[in-house]
């Protein structure tokens, strides 16, 4: 009889990523969805104030994303090596180039007025769609068992999480358009529906909190807010916290999965 493990030692190496990476997933996702909102709001004739704020959130998120990713590198001074090659088969490479394009276009969208700004906003929205979903591909297409098992749901879950956080940020800025409540509700409903596909890490408080704050709680609060407007801000706060916790929980789940000798 031979054993099916080597002294129960794990086969895989856990992710070396620290807090900056899941926080970037959160910030970049929210910024990406905000850029889509800005374009959608402008094309459908929503208030210019909403469009301006959505563009600002996109640009602020893009500007924050860069330093977060650079800080996580083992050799931060070599961050430009990310743009040395383009490899479509590497989600990390696709992400680096997307963030570069997203950063440039969303910054231009707030810096320039008129036609130039509008063209930049469209480019920002297009790259924003990738920003809000590719991080799920980044985790799913790896050797980490729990991530790879959820490759078909992670990009959708992270996309929903991005929508929830972008809507929440605009609501917390004081915007009360029903569209934001509807988008927030749809995102919370999607996140609730994807709950069975979340990692079940025993005793993992973050994962549990992420489930509650991002899914059922904001969904119920948003329904209730149709009667009582004040609840929208509470729902927004819950969704924002849930969105951040979701990313933290998934990175932590990857570390736990890699340390498992029988994943």
């Amino acid at each position: 009889m031979t054993s099916d493990t080597y002294y129960d030692l794990p086969l895989l190496k856990p992710p070396v990523w620290t807090w900056e990476v899941p926080v970037y997933f959160f910030v970049g996702g929210a910024a990406g969805a905000a850029a889509v909102f800005a374009a959608a709001a402008q094309l459908t004739g929503a208030s210019p104030k909403l469009v301006r704020d959505a563009r600002r959130i996109a640009a602020a998120g893009a500007v924050l994303s860069g330093p977060l990713l650079v800080a996580d590198l083992g050799r931060p001074e070599r961050f430009l090596n990310m743009l040395r090659v383009f490899k479509p088969q590497s989600p990390m490479s696709v992400g680096a180039w997307t963030l570069t394009a997203f950063g440039a276009s969303s910054t231009a969208a707030v810096m320039f007025r008129g036609r130039l700004g509008d063209v930049a906003a469209v480019a920002s929205a297009a790259t924003g769609l990738v920003m809000s979903t590719y991080t799920g591909v980044l985790l799913g297409a790896t050797a980490i068992p729990v991530w790879a098992r959820h490759k078909k749901t992670l990009p959708i879950l992270f996309g929903a999480s991005a929508v929830a956080s972008a809507a929440a940020l605009l609501e917390l800025r004081g915007h009360q358009e029903p569209a934001l409540n509807a988008l927030g509700f749809a995102a919370a409903a999607a996140e609730t529906a994807l709950t069975p596909h979340r990692p079940r890490v025993a005793g993992e408080l973050t994962a549990l909190a992420a489930q509650i704050f991002s899914g059922p709680l904001p969904a119920l609060l948003r329904l209730a807010s149709l009667k009582s407007k004040r609840l929208r801000r509470v729902a927004a706060g819950s969704a924002l916290l849930g969105s951040l916790l979701t990313r933290l929980a998934w990175v932590e789940a990857g570390k736990a999965s890699a340390r498992d000798s029988r994943p």
């Binding site: 190496k13 709001a41 050799r75």
Partner: protein, 260 residues
């Protein structure tokens, strides 16, 4: 140049760790802690950023034909592990800087002057080999002694191996040597001897392959290693569905409820 490989024959390994020492000396690899594992004579545990050859001390239960052990005593198997230099390498495809390359001798090599320590190769290796070195910040693994090979020398570990357990040479020739060795061992009654070289998996075979006994998982070798790029299609399709839903949902929401 021809494609070279390692054939590591566990049945010849005596666990002397000369390969580990030779590797560390030649490549100037730092120590990775002086820890007691507390579970075996193996106090290193696994390959890592600063362990490029690692001798595993596999304990097998006694069985007639394993040889060399008194009844009731466990049987030793030693096996020198190393980066597999995969035919389809997860780390190489994942590397966003182009630091990890395929060399002219078919090996997978990390260019230390390019690596920026993003860590994506670490989660993309199905064998858990490559890792980021704290303090240095870059990812490291076996170089297959590219410098020695270019100078016409064999890798340091193979040179130091006193029993011929680590064989180095032309990959195709080594595979024939391995087949002969398996036939020889089977003829001797060692029927559990097998070659570990996952050619049927998405990794598509490895340039460093092994002769082990019984279940390869007892040697911490995965039964079916999966190349992470095989997940790309499903994951990007999901991302496209998500992106389409966000785009359409946003336009519909703002068209219907974009005003207060």
């Amino acid at each position: 140049m021809t494609v070279t490989g390692f054939f590591t024959d566990s049945t010849l390994c005596i666990g002397c760790k000369a390969c580990e020492v030779a590797c560390k000396e030649w490549n100037d690899v730092p120590h990775d802690g002086f820890n007691w594992s507390g579970n075996s004579y193996d106090n290193t545990g696994a390959l890592g950023h600063s362990t490029w050859r690692h001798v595993k001390f596999v304990e097998l239960s006694p069985e007639i034909g394993r040889g060399g052990n008194a009844p009731g005593k466990m049987a030793w198997e030693f096996s020198s592990d190393v980066c597999k230099h995969c035919e389809n390498a997860g780390c190489l495809e994942a590397c966003p800087t182009g630091s990890i390359i395929r060399t002219d001798i078919g090996s997978v090599y990390v260019q230390p002057d390019i690596c920026n320590g993003c860590g994506y190769c670490v989660v993309s290796c199905p064998f858990g080999v490559i890792d980021r070195r704290e303090g240095d910040g870059r990812a490291f693994k076996c170089t297959f002694c590219y410098d020695r090979q270019k100078a016409g020398l064999e890798p340091a570990c193979a040179k130091a191996c006193p029993t011929g357990s680590i064989l180095f040479g032309d990959l195709d020739a080594l595979e024939r040597v391995a087949d002969q060795r398996i036939a020889q061992l089977h003829a001797m009654g060692m029927n559990d001897a097998t070659i570990y070289n996952p050619k049927e998996s998405s990794v598509g075979g490895t340039h460093a392959f092994f002769l082990v006994r019984g279940d390869p998982r007892a040697y911490n070798l995965p039964a079916n290693p999966v190349m992470p790029t095989t997940h790309l299609k499903d994951a990007w399709r999901a991302a496209a569905i998500g992106a389409a839903a966000i785009a359409v949902g946003s336009f519909v929401a703002f068209a219907l409820g974009g005003r207060k």
